[in-house]
Assembly symmetry: C2
Homo-oligomer: 133 residues x 2
């Protein structure tokens, strides 16, 4: 069912410094910051040959990332995203096996595609995003 690892999202306390580190020291291709007010985040994409790293920083007061950074001041992996062909079929299969979706009804994610987040407690402590790709 799952296909490519679409991205690994890392919440970072200092977006400029993280971007400079990936661009400079690690020598990767790094995008400009993209503000996504409806998601409460600013993102910078690190484009690797086979997948992407998404650097996330809070935007606005209700950002879901702000709480994460309070608990993890140095930052950390916020979620990982797997691609699926059919998001509705994917949710059905996951929930039929007794695992919890945080939003059983797909919503439009940061890439403009339907996404569902799965409960980290049901997935080895990892917040998993499924994205229809």
């Amino acid at each position: 069912m799952i296909g490519n690892l679409n991205h690994v999202a890392i919440a970072v306390p200092d977006l400029e410094s993280a971007a400079a580190q990936y661009r400079g020291t690690l020598g990767a291709t790094v995008s400009e910051p993209l503000e996504l007010p409806e998601h409460g985040v600013v993102t910078i994409f690190v484009r690797l040959p086979n997948t992407s790293i998404e650097l996330l920083h809070p935007l606005g007061e209700a950002s879901p990332i702000a709480k994460f950074l309070e608990r993890n001041p140095a930052g950390g992996v916020h979620h990982i995203c797997y691609e699926v062909k059919d998001i509705h079929a994917a949710v059905k299969r996951v929930t039929a096996d007794g695992y919890r979706a945080l939003n059983p009804t797909p919503k439009i994610g940061a890439h403009g595609k339907p996404v569902v987040f799965l409960h980290p407690k049901d997935f080895n402590g990892v917040l998993v995003e499924l994205e229809e790709a």
Copy 2:
């Protein structure tokens, strides 16, 4: 400098159940367990089309994963691994920029290739492995 994301390593409290979840519910190609006593881990590889997920479980008493699972009983992302062409050049560049390598002298990693781990506090709270590939 960094190339592909070689793998995302997830420490899991129950290896069999995590493997069954990835094989069954998520429909991925999952390897048999591989014991690596010299690294204190049992690993199972989840092969995605573009990269791998490495499920890690403690093996033996001195396992570095045991401590991680004590702090994170549900599991969690333990590290992410980027490929580099020349591990010695990579360490030189990273440390020249003031970032810390946990083992500045490369050691042989779980895949039989030279690896260096970078300090999570210097990399947005994420334990980063560089692997010569």
